[in-house]
Symmetry: C2
Subunit: 514 residues, 2 copies
């Protein structure tokens, strides 16, 4: 068994049976080994950003790692932006990177590079396999490291000769890990503060944003008057009718400061202290005022549900203290397309079990409210701020959950960082409905321009802020990758196209011209 | 004057008047400053790979650096693969990367990253500007470092507060630098070996691949019987009628070993010792046999023309000792499209002064021979092996040389790593003819599979080697970015479309279905 096969069999032993890949010459042994390892599903991305983004989306929905396969330093480099997003989402990924053969590394061949240097910024765990017979153990260690709560990117560099030489026995299965219990000190402080009736905000991320955690949080809020909020950007949140509605922490620093001013305590659950997304002149980076005491209740990777349960028990919170959203589905929007009519129309069709991958600044505003009472669904956000993630994440989510409809809400500008994901959706026959918010501009940059009081946009600046001239035609781009596509300019047509996309199998793209 | 303006004015002072950019919030001050600095041309790329690849193509043709502008670590990461290619091409680039404000860096905001760690692998020079008032001096140092022969990537990290705070006086102009003279020892060795009639191979890259160096090399070859070859991949080579024909060093290691076996001396001119591109089992990485003595005649960044002139003088080489290609333009090809009929048809239309950016494995074979007698042109190759470069490099070359027609010979698989370059070509109205070799497969990987004796390609492996199912339709993709496009399936139609593309202004895409 050559080393590449040892790796693949070790992955299969632990249930890691999807490999998002963009291989090159140094990974040919992997490609050949895939034929010999039944059950391993290779998914090709035409660009490495798709590989990384899909592995992220997959991990968020499958609750287990996929493997990736990159070609040398430059191949990995193309995946780094979406690996950054995955790192911020704490997505477990077994990140395999082929390198030149060990004896070839010292030479200045065209593709030679310091692969570890490329990998380090995004990898919580990094190992360079320079001995083929250790591949079973190394791969097993990578799986365990990736999966260890809260999840991280574990990168294994595999020199080509380690892939083609004998690899030895595959590593034993890694058992699905459990989160560690939270430290009791945080719990005691929370109990004291809540009992004393002090003003408490609980900021939540991670696994506590699933139904069980949300219900516990809602009961605590109802019983104690404490406030619970989700982080501004979250890897995955369960939402919809029958679930508590959790508002998100505001995006801009002045809003965060104003909010926090009203609290005596800020308790962190699977997250870090809130800071500004960007710095602005005369705005703080750190948002928590001195009078608001900061406590870590649950570290990322600890058992948030257990901690919330313990709080409920200690405070005798009744089972029915929480509030949940009623089923409330709006009628489709009408007339011209704008963020509100699009939000209303999307909410009108969102089916039970939908997964929404959201990367459209335009989709904020009324969309969360419109969809709060829809049938239950999962919402995936852009966690790391690196644009060009959602198309790929949607593809990965659809592979993790083949029976669930996936929606991708994608801004036109952001989508152009990795449009190649459309091809993978077609290749794999994924049930993804891609909705492009086509405003032909970097809307986010116009917002930031205004926040920075930069005055009127001149002709040269406009060349960097607008993406018209020429207008993108996403329908053509989609057809170029084999995907059925339609352009719509009113809400009625959008509704019709959404219905069609949901009824027909396979991916569809709808370009909403705003 | 804010820091961003100080930077732009320093660039302008040294004639760096093109900035390929993909800005974000932390670079808004640059965007605003562009309006205040007349003459600075901002060129937007919708994906950072385009920014990097275009800066590379620009530098190769303009013989001076362009500036780039990237948004934080993940934005830079998206540009790294093409920066790797630019590094291998020794292209001078002033690589500006916005970072969070200095005081915001310590916080774990979503886009926070170690920008310097991302930049280091591709940067010959790296400085973190943490003091706005040094921006003039720092930018000037970056220009000087980038431009210093043989050229390199000089990265300046610019925290957002340095951009928005006062930046002080712009830096003084950097004068176009001259190459250093080569050390006399190499010259003396070459003279001795040539006089002794020993078998000498001169391997050339860099600036000696322009007309003057080529003529000198050809005279030396004609007079002494020594052999001159170009590296397998070169940043830029002048070719065509009236110029000497220089063959390239073979790509595969066994061919290189066989070639070198016939020489007593290998002299390097602006290059490094030949090594295998990839390692293969039972193939050497190092290609020069022990009996062939290795000498550095001209280091990269040294004056190769001066060294070749000195050789000619020392050996009394007559002015007419060289041989040059006769003007010889083939008739257009006929019938079905294959690499030969495409090569013949391209050669039949290649106009005087054309620039060819070549990233199609399929385009090798007969293409160099077919075009050797065409009107003079420049040939740009993929120097670093990271796919997805040529569309962007073609865009940059067209901006550097607005009066010259640019051809981009692009494989369909490789083109999908950065197809967004098409949009920039349309936005800027560039005279680029893009020829897509549509073989619907990673041809290079099929070749490598065969070299590795991996047997028959199974069903799973095929999913990673073929890019059909669905077939890409590059004509649709091009139209999606506003570019006129045509599909052709025979040489006559290809010829017609090439003529049309050359006659009409602006970019065109021709998809050659093979």
């Amino acid at each position: 068994m050559v080393g590449a096969e040892t790796i693949l069999r070790t992955l299969m032993n632990s249930g890691v049976d999807v490999c998002f890949a963009n291989p090159g010459t140094s990974e040919m042994q992997f490609v050949a080994a895939v034929d010999r390892v039944p059950g391993m599903r290779p998914v090709l991305g035409l660009f490495e950003g798709v590989v990384a983004g899909a592995a992220d989306g997959y991990a968020r929905m499958a609750d287990k790692p996929a493997a990736t396969l990159f070609h040398l330093g430059p191949g990995l480099a193309n995946g780094l932006a979406n690996l950054h997003n995955a790192m911020r989402a704490r997505s477990p990924i077994v990140n395999l990177v082929g390198d030149h053969a060990t004896y070839h590394r010292p030479y200045a061949s065209p593709l030679a590079s310091d692969v570890a240097a490329y990998a380090r910024p995004v990898s919580g765990w990094l190992r360079d396999n320079a001995e083929g017979r250790m591949l079973g153990a190394d791969t097993r260690a990578a799986i365990a490291a990736a999966w260890e709560p809260p999840g991280q990117i574990a990168t294994l560099l595999v020199p080509a000769d380690c892939s083609w030489n004998p690899g030895g026995e595959p590593g034993a299965p890694v058992q699905r890990p459990s989160p560690r219990p939270a430290a009791p000190e945080g719990l005691e402080r929370a109990i004291r503060a809540l009992r004393a009736g002090e003003r408490c905000l609980f900021l939540i991320n991670g696994h506590s944003l699933r139904a069980e955690g949300l219900h516990l949080a809602s009961r605590l809020a109802g019983h104690t008057g404490a406030r619970f909020m989700a982080d501004t950007f979250t890897a995955r949140m369960e939402r919809g009718a029958g679930l508590p509605v959790l508002q998100r922490f505001p995006r801009y620093p002045e809003q965060g400061v104003e909010l926090l001013d009203g609290f005596d305590h800020l308790f962190l659950i699977e997250t870090t202290p809130p800071v500004a997304f960007f710095a602005y002149p005369d705005q703080p980076s750190w948002l928590t005022p001195e009078h608001c005491l900061l406590h870590t209740l649950v570290e990322p990777g600890e058992d948030a549900v257990g901690a919330l349960q313990a709080l409920c028990e200690a405070l005798n919170v009744p089972a029915n203290a929480g509030r949940t959203a009623e089923l409330s589905v709006p009628e489709p929007g009408t007339g011209a397309l704008d963020p509100d009519s699009i939000a209303q129309t999307v909410a009108s069709v969102l089916p039970e079990g939908a997964i929404v991958a959201d990367e459209a600044i335009t989709s904020r505003g009324s969309l969360p409210g419109m969809t709060a009472g829809c049938p239950t669904h999962d919402w995936l956000s852009l966690t790391g701020g690196a644009l060009g993630q959602s198309l790929s994440a949607a593809a990965g989510a659809a592979i993790a959950c083949p029976d669930r409809p996936v929606f991708c809400l994608q801004a036109d500008g952001a989508g152009m960082y990795a449009p190649q994901a459309l091809w993978t959706m077609v290749r794999e026959g994924l049930n993804v409905t891609v909705l492009i918010y086509a405003n032909r501009s970097y809307k986010i940059l116009h917002n930031e321009w205004a926040r920075l009081n930069l005055g009127q946009v001149g002709e040269s600046a406009r060349k960097l802020l607008d993406i018209g001239e020429p207008d993108l035609n996403w329908s053509h781009i989609a057809r170029g990758m084999g995907m059925p596509a339609a352009q719509v300019t009113d809400a009625e047509s959008l509704h019709r196209q959404l219905r069609t996309a949901l009824e027909e199998p396979g991916p569809h793209l709808i370009e909403a011209i705003m």
